[in-house]
């Protein structure tokens, strides 16, 4: 069993959970994920690691209450235990010295991108971060992102029609100054929609844009193939070949998004998850 050592609400329905799992903490690297099961009848559900403390043997992640299991998680308190917790799964994010890195995050990504940014900072990159959130109250992790970046841009406002998203406005300005004020690399963590839109924006500029794909998973160790994504025409499994991929090499975003919603009607309780313009609704 894996005891919960801390559990805080970051915004309405958004929580950070810290779990004692020294085996996971010991090997965790930026961009990796864990799979947990709440109890013996629970599902295996993946979360990107948002931080860890190898000395204390703890791992944390941020989740949004959207379905049955995340609601169940929301009701747990420090001292309660998770039945299973396995990780760190997936390949770590690529981190090197690139120069100017622009990061875009929304939702769970605001927390999950933090270890990646800190590692990029250690490699002496200049980091501009765009945080997309509906409003200031739900712009969680803004302070931590500010500390981890050279500049933080808040992009507030609900996603509008046809998948245009508020993060695109500040990014458009940044790209307008490229290559005078060059962007050497992009990292995006957020909804599939956001990652797709950002990838399409940077494609004409040939700026390498890393996205962190979040397809449905079952085992998370390369056995089931539920998380397969088409990358340059080849099937790649997000759990062992990813979850980080070059956004310009991802093909079949429509299919990826549809697959992500296979069980949305059954396990996702929030109507707002049903994005407008998505082929599934």
């Amino acid at each position: 069993m894996f005891p919960i050592v801390a559990h805080e609400e970051l915004a309405p329905n958004v929580h950070r959970m810290t779990v004692k799992a020294s085996v996971v903490a010991e090997k965790a690297q930026p961009g990796q994920f864990v799979i947990l099961i709440t109890d013996e009848k629970g599902e295996r559900i993946p979360f990107t690691i948002s931080g860890w403390d190898a000395a204390r043997g703890t791992v944390d992640f941020v989740y949004i209450e959207v379905g049955k299991t995340t609601r169940q998680l929301g009701a747990l308190r420090p001292g309660d235990e998770l039945a299973h917790f396995v990780g760190p799964l997936g390949k770590p994010a690529e981190v090197d010295h690139y120069g100017h890195v622009v990061a875009v995050a929304s939702g769970y990504g605001a927390a999950a991108i933090l270890p990646v940014l800190r590692a990029l900072k250690e490699k002496e990159n200049r980091i501009t971060t765009i945080l997309q959130a509906p409003d200031r109250e739900r712009a969680f992790c803004a302070e931590e992102l500010e500390q981890a970046s050279d500049r933080l841009i808040l992009a507030l406002g609900s996603p509008g029609e046809e998948m245009t998203v508020s993060a695109t406005r500040p990014l458009r300005k940044i790209l307008a100054n490229h290559p005078q004020n060059p962007v050497h690399r992009m990292v995006v963590m957020g909804s599939l929609c956001l990652m797709r839109v950002i990838s399409e924006m940077t494609r004409p500029y040939s700026i390498k844009t890393m996205v962190h794909l979040t397809p449905l998973m079952v085992d998370g160790t390369g056995m089931c193939g539920a998380c397969r994504c088409s990358i340059q025409g080849k099937n790649r499994f997000a759990c062992v070949h990813g979850p980080e991929f070059d956004g310009h090499e991802v093909d079949g975003w429509d299919v990826l998004m549809a697959r992500r919603c296979t069980y949305a009607d059954e396990s996702i309780l929030q109507q707002s998850f049903q994005c407008r313009g998505c082929s599934q609704w």
């Binding site: 085996v23 996971v24 010991e26 090997k27 099961i37 009848k41 629970g42 599902e43 295996r44 049955k68 299991t69 039945a83 299973h84 917790f85 396995v86 990780g87 760190p88 799964l89 079952v218 085992d219 160790t221 390369g222 056995m223 089931c224 193939g225 539920a226 397969r228 994504c229 088409s230 099937n235 499994f237 062992v240 079949g252 429509d254 299919v255 990826l256 998004m257 549809a258 697959r259 296979t262 069980y263 059954e266 396990s267 082929s279 599934q280």
Partner: protein, 478 residues
């Protein structure tokens, strides 16, 4: 109808004339119409009386062909003799001396190709139902509560790590524990048992039986660490450099293979691994009591002709599919699935389409599969496996409406361990290369099961485990 034959004096039976009883007893099964609607075990097992009657058919021939036909060399004539004497406990001890997983073997071994194929009575077409007898003994022991345990050798002080808790790993763990070594098993999933838990469905192998046999192995002093991925949490070298004198790799099948045709990633196109893992390991058939769902359409195509394809098709029927089609590119004769499972599937109303192969999947406009494009095939020249290679017939393309497809084409090895262990030699398919006793290219490391074979049966994985365990024991005793 009863049939008895007098046999003359023969090598097998000595001088005496023996009456051969050729009435092989069928095992009771749930009626197809009933079992299509539940996940309970299809074959309900022999009763005590049936067991005694079937056991009495064994002529105790001297050749012991059946034992030679068993990949783990069970002393079959001896346990049947004990049954004939009515001593089930003694029969159980004979079984347990060679297998720690009799309840599993009795159910899923292809006995018709092994022990029963070698049975002297098989010359008359009615081999003793050895598998059903084995199953009865295992079930009797489990329900009697008097689980017998072999005597453990005194502790050698040597530590062994077994990676993977499927049939091969469990065999090595119990063999080495009995010989006095301290064994630790590592399992990536949240329960032990590997393919016995995630792959083979409840109606063929109840999970309670798997867990009882796993518990039996742990009762021999084997530690089982769940939720631990070797290649991530510990590298193979870390295992070898810390606690363990030897390691056995039995990580199993790995990544599912796909057809590589357009539309294969559409919604409701499953790999058999995903579909079976949801259904069996995660118990999606009990959704919402269990939290993992599995979506099932009305008209389902299962692509492939192996046992996994049969399991997928039969799960689909039970999950409410109205029409289930098995699509196989060769003919019935080349199907790798066990005949018994094919017959069970047919009884349950599953349709078989032979000599056709999917060439693409078509979307309903919302990225859900709505139809499959196929081409008819014919058999050409034999390929490397000796089977005649299927070749497409030009101009024979057609489509078939389906709203669910399950791809069951086998797997390729999981790269996690090989990619973190540069000095472990692998084939170009990614399987681990070993000698005939399971020794890999890397010092102190053995391997067996699907990670070596690429995909075979439970019992062959156990047989490889048995051979590797004896080699490992020799090494540890040096």
């Amino acid at each position: 109808m009863s049939e008895t034959k007098e046999t003359g004096p023969s090598e097998e039976t000595g001088k005496k004339k023996v009456k051969m009883n050729l009435n092989r007893l069928e095992m009771p099964k749930q009626e197809p119409e009933v079992r299509r609607r539940n996940f309970d075990e299809v074959a309900t097992g022999y009763t005590y009386e049936m067991t005694m009657e079937e056991a009495s058919r064994c002529i105790q021939c001297k050749k012991r062909n059946c034992q030679q036909g068993c990949p783990v060399n069970i002393d079959i004539p001896d346990f049947i003799k004990h049954l004939q004497d009515g001593n089930i406990e003694a029969a159980s001890k004979v079984l347990k001396a060679k297998t720690s997983l009799p309840g599993i073997c009795g159910r899923v071994c292809p006995q018709e190709l092994q022990c029963e194929n070698s049975c002297t009575l098989n010359k008359k077409g009615a081999p003793v139902a050895i598998g059903r007898l084995e199953r009865f003994i295992a079930d009797w022991e489990r329900t009697s509560g008097a689980v017998s345990k072999p005597e453990l050798a005194p502790s050698t002080g040597k530590c062994v790590a077994v990676v993977g808790t499927g049939p091969s790993g469990l065999t090595v763990a119990s063999d080495l524990a009995i010989r006095g070594h301290q064994v630790t098993m590592y399992e990536a999933l949240h329960v032990a048992g590997g393919v016995l838990m995630y792959g083979i469905p409840e109606f063929r192998l109840p999970k309670e039986i798997v867990q009882r046999e796993v518990q039996y192995v742990s009762s021999l002093g084997v530690d089982i660490h769940l939720d631990t991925v070797i290649g991530i949490n510990y590298s193979l070298d870390e295992l070898l450099n810390t606690k363990y004198q030897a390691v056995y790799l039995a990580t199993g099948a790995g990544l599912p293979q796909f057809l590589r045709v357009p539309g294969e990633n559409l919604n409701m196109v499953y790999s058999a691994n995903e579909f079976l893992t949801r259904t069996n390991l995660m118990k999606a058939y009990l959704y919402p009591e269990y939290a993992t769902p599995v979506k099932m359409g009305r008209k389902v195509a299962v692509i492939g002709g192996g046992n996994v394809a049969m399991d997928s098709a039969r799960c689909a029927v039970r999950l409410g599919a109205q029409e289930v089609y098995v699509i196989y590119r060769r003919t019935r004769q080349e199907m790798p699935a066990r005949l018994e499972e094919v017959e069970n599937a047919e009884e349950e109303g599953i349709h078989f389409h032979f000599l056709c192969n999917p060439t693409g999947f078509i979307s309903d406009g919302r990225n859900n599969v709505s139809a499959m494009e196929l081409v008819r095939m014919k058999l050409g020249e034999p390929d490397a496996s000796g089977r005649r290679r299927p070749v497409p017939i030009e101009g024979s393309e057609y489509t078939m409406d389906v709203d669910t497809a399950i791809i069951s084409l086998g797997t390729s090895p999981n790269p996690l361990i090989a990619s973190t262990t540069p000095d472990l030699e692998t084939s170009r398919w990614g399987t681990v290369i070993t000698d005939e006793r399971g020794k890999t290219s890397k010092a102190r490391v053995w391997a067996g099961g699907d990670i070596v074979s690429g995909g075979a049966t439970v019992i062959s994985a156990m047989g490889e485990g048995r051979r590797a365990a004896s080699a490992m024991h020799e090494f540890l005793s040096q």
